[in-house]
Every structure is written in C-alpha cells, then in structure tokens.
C-alpha cells in the first residue's frame, strides 16, 4: 500500500464535491474513485469519508437517497444539490488561488 498523504485541512470536502459532480454515487464508490484518480496517493478511510458525507449533507450541499448498486444491492447514493454546485465553483476558485500562491512562495513554475 503506497504511503497515504495527509490531506490539507478542508480539501476532503472539495474532493468529494468534485467526485460527485458528474452524477450520483455511493460512499464506497466515492472512496474508490478518489483513490483511482489520484493514482493511489489519496486513500480516504471510512473514518473520515462517512462523517464528511454526513457533514456535507447537513450543510445542504449534497443530498442522499436509496438506490440499487451495480450488482443490485440497496445502497445510499449521494448527489450534488444546486447549493453544492455553487459551493464547488467557489471552492475550486479558492483552490486555484491558493495553490498558485503556494507555488509562487515555493519558487515553482506556475502552470498556465
């Protein structure tokens, strides 16, 4: 198992929102997807995944409902709400600003 990288405070919410942007997904799939896309750098343990999903739901950025999984098991699916989509946009903007600022400080070349 590759060493897991500690996530920056608050970036987990952003990752989940981004992952859910294409369409509804259940919790396990969210974790798998983040892991795959990040090429196994980011591993989201259930200990942080489910509390984060619940937190986002309580904040009204995602909603949940029961549906059937790929192999027809009853599973809880999460999807972005309209407030969630707006939130994702602002979070992305913030992220861009933040990451380019950090890159400047660290003296790395800023990507176009």
């Amino acid at each position: 198992m590759p060493p897991s990288t500690d996530l920056l405070q608050g970036t987990l919410d952003l990752l989940i929102l981004q992952t859910l942007a294409p369409g509804p997904m259940h919790g396990w799939a969210v974790a798998q997807r983040i892991q795959q896309v990040s090429r196994h750098v980011l591993q989201i343990g259930q200990g942080s995944l489910y509390p984060a999903l619940h937190r986002l739901e309580y904040k009204g950025w995602i909603r949940s409902g029961w549906g059937a999984s790929e192999n027809n098991r009853r599973a809880r699916f999460y999807s972005l709400t309209r407030a969630g989509k707006r939130r994702l946009e602002t979070e992305l903007e913030t992220w861009d600003r933040l990451s380019s600022a950090i890159a400047l400080v660290l003296g790395r070349e800023v990507q176009a």
Binding site: Q32, Q46, Y50, P51, E57, Y58, K59, G60, A75
Partner: protein
C-alpha cells in the same frame, strides 16, 4: 445561507434512523470484501481484510452522529438518564453524597446570608464608606458620645470633615390621635439627614429654624409608620399629628430603608431643638452622639489625629481626676453598628467554612471511590469505542446532576436554617431579624458545589482508562493516598469545630449555673411605662403606682408586692461614679473615677421577694416610706470598699449631686449579680422609694411574689391595672424568663457552633467509613490469602483497624494542634472557661476517637468474616 439553515432545521427534527447508517456501513464492508475477492483472496480472508481496513464500527458511527447539528443535545439527555440509572443502582453512595452536599450548601448559604447582613450589607446612606462616628469614650459609656459643652466647639473648629452633625438619642413617645400608639422618637440636628445623605421619600428635610428651642413643631415619619398607621396616604405631608400632646406638622416621609446609625428603631424623627448658646456654656451639657462625613482623601485615623486640638480642649473641661480615662474615638459607622457582633460573625463564618471544606472533601472522596470502582466499566466502554471526550462528558454530567440536586435541597435547608437562626437569635442582634436568603449567595454556593463536583468528578476520568482495569481486579489504589489525606483533613477540621463547640457549651453551662445571689422562682415582673403627656407630674405618677401597688397586694395568692426601677441581674440600672460618693468625716479620693457604682430605688419588700439576705443592720420598713429622712442600704461589696473593716451602720453619705442630702446607712445586703450574667459584680446601693413625689419616675417594675402558677396570676394583674388605667400597656414576664433571656446570646452562639460541629463530625465519619470499607473491599483477595496462610480473624480485624487508627490518630493530633491555636480567638466569648480548657480538649478527643473507631470497626468486622475460599475465587 438560508438553505443551510433550513437543512439544519430539517435534520434537527427528522432523526435519521440509526439502522440506515448501519446499513450504509455494512454496504461499504461488503463492497470492500467483493473487491478483495476480485483481487484473488479467499472468501474468509477477503472479509477479514475488509473489516480490518474498516476499523472501529462504533467509532465511525459516533463520528457520523456527531456531524449532526445539535447532536450533543440528544446525548445530554442520554447522559442524564444514564447517570440517574447509576444513582439508583448505588443508593448508599447517592444518599451520602446528596446529604453531604445538602448540609454543606444549606449551612453555608444560611450563615453567609446572616453574616452578610451583619458585616457586609450596604448601609442605607450615600457614600457610607466616608461616614464616621466621632466622640469621647469613658468607662461610663461603652459607645463614643459627645457633650453639649464640647460639641459646638468641635463642629466649628474641626478640619477633617465635610459635615458634622449630631443626634440626642431615641426615646419613647406617644402618638395621641384617634388611633393612639406607643412609638419611639429620635431627636436629631437639622443637618443630620443631609450629612448622612438621606433624602425624604416625600416632603423635605428639617430647616435650621425648626431646630431651635420654641421653633415650629415638625416631624418626619418613618416609612413603616406611614404604611401601618396612615395607609401610605401621600396627603400625610403637612398634616398635624399629636405627639406627646403637642400638635406637630408632618413635613415628610423617610425612605423605606432608613435607619439610625445606632440601629435603634425610630418611628418618628424630630428636630432636637437644643439651645445652642445654653449648651455652649453648660458643663458638661447634654449627651449627644456625633456623626461626620470625611473629606475626600482623609481616613478615620487621619481624622482622629486632626481632631487632637479640639479633643484637648474638651479634656481641659473635664475634672482633672477623670482625664486619664477619657479617650478620643473616630470609627466608621459600620464598626459602630457591629462592634460586638463582629467577633461572633467571623467565628460563624469560620465554622461554616470548615463545614463546607469537610463537605467538599467528602464529596470528592465519595466521587473518587466511585470512579475507582468504575474503572472496569469505563475501560469496557472505552474498548467498545466510546471516545475519551464522551466518557469525560458522561462523568461530568453525573457530577452536575448530583451537584444540582444537592444545591436545590441545600437551598431548602438554608431557608429552614435561616428561620431557625432568626427564631433562636437573641433580641440584641437587631440586624438578624431582617436577614433573608440572598440570591447572589445562593448562586455562589451552587457554583462552588458545581466547581467542586466538576473538579473531583473529571480528574479521575481525565486519565486514560487502563487496560489493566479490564482484568477482574477491583479498581486500583491510585487515589487511595489522596483520599486518606482528605479523611485526615476532615477529622482535623471536625476536632477544631468540636473543641470550639465544647468550650462554648461549657461556658454557657457556667453562665446558667451562675449563683444569682437571689431567688427568681415565683416572681412576676410587670413593666409599666406611663405616658408623660397624661401623667404630667411626679405626683400623678406616684399616685398611679401607689394605687396599683395596693390593688395587686389584694390579689389572691399574692404574698408580697414591691417596686423598683430596674431588676437585676440585667446590665441596665442607674449608675454613678464611685469617687463622687462622699462619706461624712472622711477625705474624698482625688485620683481617678474609682469605676462605677450601680444603684436602684426600691420599696421595702424588694429584699424579701428576691430573698436577698440583709447581712448587717436592717432592711427598709413600711413606716420609713412616709418619713422625710433619707435612708440607704449598701451591698457588701460597696460597704467593704467604702468602710473596710469599720461598721457602716449609721454612717452618713452624700451621693450625686454633691450638694444633695445626707443619707444614713441602715444596713448591708448580700451581693447580687447585677451587671449581666457574665459581667463582674458591681458595688451597689439601694435608695428607699418613699411616698414623696420627688422619688418617682414614670416607669416602674412591679414585682409580684406568688405561689400560684404565673399563667394564672398574669391575667389578674392585667385586669387590676386595667381598672385603674384601661389604655396602659403592661408587659409581664416571670423573673426566671427574664434571667434566661440574658443567656440568649451565649445559647445562640453555643447551639450554632454545636450544630456545625456535629454536622462536620457526621460528615467526617461518613468519609472515614467510606475509606475504610473501600480499603477493606480492595484487600479482600489479600485477606483471603492471609487467612489461607493461617492468619486468625483477630489478625484481620487488627489489620483493618490499624489502618483506620492511623488515619484517626494523625487527624486528631493535627486537629488538636489547630484547635489549640484557634480557640484563643474564642476567648472573649468564654465565661469561666479557659480557651485551652483541658477537660474540653480531652472530651473532644475521646468522643472523636470512640465514634471514629466505631466507624472503622464496621467494615473491619465485615472483612474479618471473609471466607478465604470465596475471597480467593473472587478473581
């Protein structure tokens, strides 16, 4: 923002079913297993890996739960329910803790309320911290006073004060309208109320021209009188009322909280209307009480130094032999008010603080014992995934529930105690009657108990539950050392309290067993005070009393009647300076005052009713009442001081005034306690009250000797007096009641301290019992081993008792040392008992040793009965 708020609201009300979450987590594990299977693991391995990867289910569940807005509200209810269940399972612990808290909080709140009233209450004057009482002190009067001959010089020449004012005391007066009443009137200077910063509620203050002899008659009425007598009618201002037969105009109503700085009750305040010019010339002039407002930046001590010049002027007026005994005093009004209560108040405060400390130690020790016994439970919960925070919150909830329950019971107890205090308080503690539970103090004690509970409740929960606790062992001895210290402290504090109480009780018994020098049984005293406006002359006053005397003499069952102006053994009587007594043919002493001599005017039966023996010469006879000669009877003490070994009978003496008549000494009476129960006996002389108008005053104590029960004779006396004057109030007491009232104050002090001491002792014993039985249970296994190895039951008993004995001995030694140092403070309250009275110390130590050993023996006996086999199987 709005959407978020609505979402929160929605989730607050619609609770997500816990099974949903379980199903979701379950799904996660299954998907994980499937993925592992796909990766080529066998089914068992796949599931195991999935579960291991997932980690603590309980923890995940709790964390998800905690995301919910307001989630903790639900857990508070859960914690409270859990706490209550725990308390019900453990009634002994709960009752002991509740009783301790109740007693601690109740006693503290009640005493703080009383002491606050006495020591710290705000005085009803503007900037009261700058008000002082100013005057001279002399052995004659305990409080500082001024004399008309000096007052005006002081007022005009003083430097340290912004304002300087006086009053001339409170005396009885009568309101003689359609609804007559017997009241008290205070006479004050016009500047008195402005100096104190008192503004009338209605109307105005006195004007300077009203404070002159023959000025307009005006009065201010108290709020109480306005309410009770005039139904708070605002048109009272400018109305004419009849005070002692004088038509007086009411110019205002005093504020509700007004009181004289001497704390005497005053229903009506009048201008003192002294003739200033006459007083300036007078020697010594009218007795007055002076009060002043300090200039900013000057304190009472500086003021005293700055008054030195005017004080020296007053000294120069005093007769040279008195000068050494006269001093200057400037002190705050509060000091004047509480002068002799201060000591009692501080002792009460100290006692109750000791009780509070014992109570806190007890609660702490109980909570520690409980948490030690619960380590296993906490460890199990922790392993099952409950977070540290959750466990701490649970413990905190428990102690809070306990503290709040104790606080509410404590408040109820405080209310009861306060009523008891007021009921048993002697009349000379005027401030006490107005004491009530102060919400600030109630809040303070509740917070204190919460803090105490929180501190000792959380401390054990803070440390991580040890996995060792999961083994069947009964808790650990981690807190045992601290608990032992607490018990030693409790025992020491109880010893201090008990010693104080024992000393006061002994002193009180000494007072009660005092030899009075007279017989108080079967004597009724009827106090009669004639209104001066109706009995205007001494002749009328004498006529009334002589008629009353013969009326009472003819009552059935009455064997004798006598009259006097004051009854012993109280402190109130007439007094004069010893060195002012002149004996015919002897030089007058020239230095000092020689102290005071008490005297009274009596009728002949006085000695026979009180069974005071005449040790030399004769008593007064009925015939002498109608003679024009002046006769005197001396007390043994006075006779010895004046004449030494000589025969006093037939000697002639002159009293005050120095140019008065010569009195002939008829006889010498035995000494009687005449300066209060605890006071040293004073030399005394008796004058005969003859049937001459000059000998009479408007008040008299009529003494009635009867063999019948007092309750039967009392209405007859009232009826007979009523036949002569139906409107006259008559106050009747038995002489024994009167005497026992003098012991009210020591009785009050002794019973309060005894109450606290016993309460403290009870709590200390509970604490000791708790510790010993805890230690015994902890060592059950060890006891079993010892017995299996051949220890006898006696050995086991000794083992446990020695453990307790060591605690008792340490506590007792510490306590006795502390008591030895502290009881000195009680010195001024003690009567014929030394502050280090060995008998009291020994008795207290014995009492404590016996009770404490008994508390140790109960758990020790239980330990002794342990069956070795059971004890060994225990683990």
């Amino acid at each position: 923002m709005m959407a978020e708020f609505l979402a929160r609201l929605r989730f607050l009300f619609s609770r997500r079913r816990p099974s949903d979450l379980d199903e979701e987590l379950q799904f996660h594990v299954e998907e994980s297993t499937r993925a592992n299977l796909a990766a080529g693991m066998n089914p068992g391995e796949a599931r195991r890996t999935a579960i291991v990867e997932f980690g603590g289910v309980e923890r995940a569940r709790e964390q998800c739960h905690e995301q919910r807005p307001g989630w903790w509200l639900g857990t508070v209810g859960q914690d409270v329910r859990y706490a209550l269940r725990g308390f019900r399972r453990n009634p002994v612990f709960t009752l002991a803790a509740l009783a301790t808290l109740t007693l601690g909080i109740g006693a503290t709140t009640a005493v703080f309320s009383v002491v606050d009233r006495i020591l710290f209450r705000p005085l009803p004057y503007a900037h009261a911290d700058r008000l002082v009482s100013v005057g001279l002190t002399a052995p004659i009067v305990p409080e500082e006073f001024m004399l008309g001959g000096s007052y005006y010089v002081w007022r005009d020449n003083q430097k340290p004060f912004e304002a300087f004012t006086s009053e001339t005391g409170v005396s009885s007066c009568d309101l003689t309208e359609h609804n007559p009443a017997h009241l008290s009137c205070a006479d004050v200077e016009a500047s008195f109320l402005p100096t104190l910063g008192v503004l009338p509620l209605l109307g105005r203050n006195f004007l300077p021209e009203e404070d002159r002899p023959h000025g307009p008659k005006v009065a201010l009425v108290s709020y109480g009188l306005w309410q009770s007598h005039y139904a708070r009618d605002p048109s009272i201002v400018n109305r004419l009322i009849d005070i002692d037969g004088n038509l007086t105009r009411v110019i205002g109503v005093l504020p509700k909280d007004f009181e004289m700085p001497t704390v005497e009750a005053a229903d009506i305040v009048l201008p003192q209307a002294l003739d200033e010019a006459e007083q300036r010339k007078a020697d010594p002039g009218r007795v007055m009480y002076a009060f002043a407002r300090l200039k900013p930046g000057i304190d009472a001590q500086q003021a005293q130094a700055m008054l030195e010049p005017v004080f020296n002027y007053s000294l120069s007026l005093a007769p040279p032999q008195f000068r050494k005994e006269v001093h200057l005093r400037v002190r705050s009004i509060r000091d004047r008010e509480v002068h002799d209560m201060r000591m009692v108040a501080w002792i009460l405060l100290g006692a109750v603080l000791a009780v509070l400390l014992i109570a806190c130690a007890n609660v702490a020790s109980l909570l520690m014992a409980r948490s030690a016994a619960r380590q296993r439970e906490l460890a199990v919960r922790s392993v099952l995934g409950a977070s540290r925070r959750r466990l701490i919150r649970q413990t905190l909830t428990e102690t809070l529930v306990l503290s709040l329950a104790g606080a509410s019971l404590g408040c109820a107890l405080a209310e009861i105690l306060l009523r008891v205090f007021i009921a048993i308080a002697p009349e000379d503690v005027p401030l006490l009657a107005k004491a009530s539970l102060d919400p600030r103090i109630v809040l303070f004690t509740i917070l204190l108990s919460l803090a105490c509970g929180a501190l000792f409740g959380i401390a054990p929960a803070m440390e991580k539950p040890r996995m060792a606790a999961l083994a069947a062992r009964f808790g650990s001895g981690a807190h045992a050392w601290l608990r032992r210290c607490l018990v030693v402290g409790q025992i020491a504090a109880s010893i201090v309290l008990l010693t104080g109480a024992a000393l006061l009780l002994r002193s009180f018994r000494n007072l009660e067993e005092q030899k009075m020098g007279m017989e108080t049984q079967g004597v009724l005293a009827a106090n009669i005070s004639l209104p001066r406006y109706r009995y205007t002359t001494q002749q009328k006053q004498m006529d009334f009393f002589l008629r009353a005397e013969s009326a009472l003499e003819h009552l059935p069952g009455v064997s004798a009647v006598a009259m006097t102006n004051w009854l012993p053994p109280g402190e109130t009587h007439e007094e004069q300076i010893f060195n002012n007594i002149a004996v015919a043919g002897k030089p007058r002493p020239t230095s000092g005052t020689g102290g005071m001599v008490a005297w009274r005017r009596i009728t002949p039966e006085y000695f026979s009713i009180l069974k005071i023996p005449i040790v030399r010469g004769q008593g007064f006879t009925q015939e002498q009442r109608s003679s024009s000669e002046h006769y005197l009877i001396l007390s043994s003490l006075l006779a010895a001081r004046l004449f030494g070994g000589e025969d006093p009978i037939g000697q002639h003496m002159r009293l005050v005034p120095p140019d008065g008549p010569w009195f002939m000494v008829l006889g010498v009476a035995a000494d009687v306690r005449n300066a209060g129960l605890a006071g040293a006996e004073m030399p005394e002389f008796y004058q005969l009250r003859r049937n001459i108008a000059d000998d009479w005053n408007p008040w008299e104590v009529m003494m009635v000797k009867t063999a019948l029960p007092p309750a039967a004779v009392e209405p007859w006396i009232r009826a007979r007096i009523g036949q002569i004057d139906p409107t006259l109030p008559v106050e009747i007491v038995t002489l024994s009641e009167d005497v026992s009232r003098l012991a009210d104050r020591p009785r009050f002090e002794a019973s309060l301290l005894a109450f606290f001491a016993l309460g403290g002792l009870a709590m200390a014993i509970i604490g000791l019992y708790g510790v010993i039985s805890f230690v015994a249970t902890q060592r059950t296994h060890e006891i079993g081993v010892r017995m299996a190895l051949g220890a006898s039951r006696g050995d086991i008993l000794r083992l446990i008792t020695v453990e307790g004995g060591r605690l008792i001995a340490t506590g007792a030694v510490l306590g006795l040392c502390a008591a030895f140092a502290l009881t000195r403070l009680l010195g001024s309250l003690l009567f014929q008992v030394g502050a280090h009275d060995p008998a009291s110390f020994v008795a207290v130590a014995l009492l404590l040793a016996i009770v404490a050993l008994a508390a140790t023996l109960i758990p020790a006996r239980a330990a002794m009965k342990v069956q070795p086999v059971e004890a060994l199987r225990y683990e």
